[in-house]
Amino acid sequence: MSASPTNASPKRRAPTRRLMAPAVLFLLIWMIVPLAMTLYYSLQDYNLMMPDMRGFAGFLSYELLFTDPVFWDALLNTLLLVATCLLITVVAGLALALLFNRTFVGRGIARTLAISPFFVMPVVTGLIWKYMLLDPVYGLFSWVMRSMGFEPIEWLSSYPLLSVVMMISWEWTPFALLILLTGLQSLPEDQLEAVRLDGANRWQEFRHIVLPHLGQVLYVVVMLESIFFLTSFAEIYATTSGGPGTATTNLPYYIYLGAFYQYDIGLSSAAAIGAVVLANICAIFLIRFVAGNLNAGSQR
């Protein structure tokens, strides 16, 4: 300890390059190389059914993609799905977080029950909803409708996209609840005391203290949820298989069908590039956030 270094940096440089290399290489091989290959395939005329007719096709796949009405349906469905699920989960999650941010009998248990759907495997969520809840004859929802004197609704055929939205919202409202509740609990008590002494009512208290405090947390919830909602697959796979027609075909499902049922590598790759672009619009915001956090950290 006597030989204290003059500069703040550690005496011996750690081999940072070697420490990071395995993780970097892994992501290069499993993410970046395939991504570059997707880009390459999207410029190729390549169908697995006709492996001999392969060749450079320029932007033909993109032209075909943009003139395919199903692609536009899928894009619209993806955006609708993301927007509705975001709206429902954030609003419901915030309301529930406020509700659970009080001390009451058995709060821990009630909260645990409420967040449980988040841990359910999406395939199982799809099956539970498809059969046991939404089945037009034997489903629980139909029984409730009938016992209240209404006609049961054929959810999956009459309101397919809404049904998928309900499933995803059931899984992800708990996520918003869990995160926002933690955010609420880090709210400094003295700020609330101060505005109460000033005679603020509940709405003013919420609007001027609680909501600004939650800003960053809300931002993270919206961003992470959009990334997951953009790639929803299992719920659709297990219930509607993208139908009826194209009613619940989103971008991931469209690419899956194109690659595994039409064997059209060129077209599906072009659509995959579209999905990457869409996700990256969301990602830009997250990167800004992470970078901002890094700067804050380096001032420690």
Binding site: F119, W170, T182, V217
Partner: protein, 284 residues
């Protein structure tokens, strides 16, 4: 100021409306949980009671459906074993890759490590469908399709960005002085990492591992596209109930319960620890 004594959480004193809000919170908790409870109840029924237009809430429970879901030929154990191997395997590989990387980033920050960190996190936002086709074609030519190894690596790549970020954020809570002191005392990088830092960060590493385990267990996209039977996980097993077999509701429910129970229970215990990783450190 004197009135608020025991109340740990900020909130007004609960008056007459307090009881109503408490009831509402409980009602919502039970409603959210109800579909899960309903599957558990259905799994304990006979097929006849399970499949009826008027749901029965009171019945004599039977383990018949669990027996039939576990029976020879149903293959439950085969899929469960694959789920355990791929989820645990990807978590361990992920930790082995994430810890050294995060160590370099947290204790020896430079422009290059910062850039690498941001780049790693950004790969999380390449959607799986964006790499699906090349991964499928390459796996097919390398014979990695429908193998546990192939699937484990895909799970690892899916979780690695989040794991690096989580481990990094836990490491950053440890004062740099500790690393400097150890290094001055003559400890090598490996010694410092294993003897000094890892024990300090153990709770954080445990929550990182738990989160990765939960995400990998519930993963469905890669399992459904890359596996068929040999490496197929419980996601593929339950998905096979989506047509035809779905009519056996009690058996479907028993299979579902056995698929989700381990992770739901794990989630109950890990809920607090998971928050931080899920929010990229925005909430502590």
């Amino acid at each position: 100021m004197t009135a608020s004594t025991v109340d740990k959480t900020p909130g007004r004193k609960s008056g007459a409306g307090g009881t109503a809000l408490t009831l509402l919170a409980w009602l919502i908790g039970i409603t959210m949980f109800f579909p899960i409870l309903w599957v558990v109840l259905t799994a304990l029924k006979t097929e006849q009671t399970a499949f009826s237009m008027t749901p029965t809430f009171i019945f004599s429970p039977t383990l018949e459906s669990f027996k039939s879901a576990l029976a020879q030929g149903s293959g439950y154990w085969h899929y469960a074993l694959n789920s355990v191997i791929t989820a645990l395997g990807s978590t361990l590989v992920g930790l082995a890759l994430a810890i050294p990387a995060a160590y370099a980033m947290a204790f020896y920050p430079s422009k290059r490590t910062d850039f690498t960190l941001v780049w790693m996190v950004s790969t999380k936002f390449i959607p799986a469908v964006g790499v699906l086709i090349p991964v499928f074609l390459v796996y097919r030519s390398l014979g990695l399709l429908d193998t546990r190894l192939g699937l484990t690596m895909l799970f690892t790549s899916m979780n690695l960005p989040i794991m690096v970020w989580m481990v990094y954020s836990y490491f950053r809570d440890i004062p740099v002085d500790i690393v400097e002191a150890a290094s001055i005392d003559g400890a090598s990088t490996a010694q410092t990492m294993f003897r000094v830092i890892l024990p300090l960060a153990l709770p954080g590493l445990a929550s990182t591992g738990l989160l990765a385990l939960i995400l990998a267990w519930n993963e469905s996209f890669w399992s459904l596209t890359m596996t068929d039977y040999h490496a197929a996980t419980l996601a593929v097993y339950t998905a096979s109930f989506k047509s035809g077999e779905g009519l056996f509701w009690a058996r479907l429910s028993a299979a579902s319960v056995m698929t989700i129970a381990p992770i739901v229970v794990l989630g109950w215990f890990a809920q607090r620890q998971m928050v931080r990783g899920l929010t990229f450190g925005a909430v502590k």
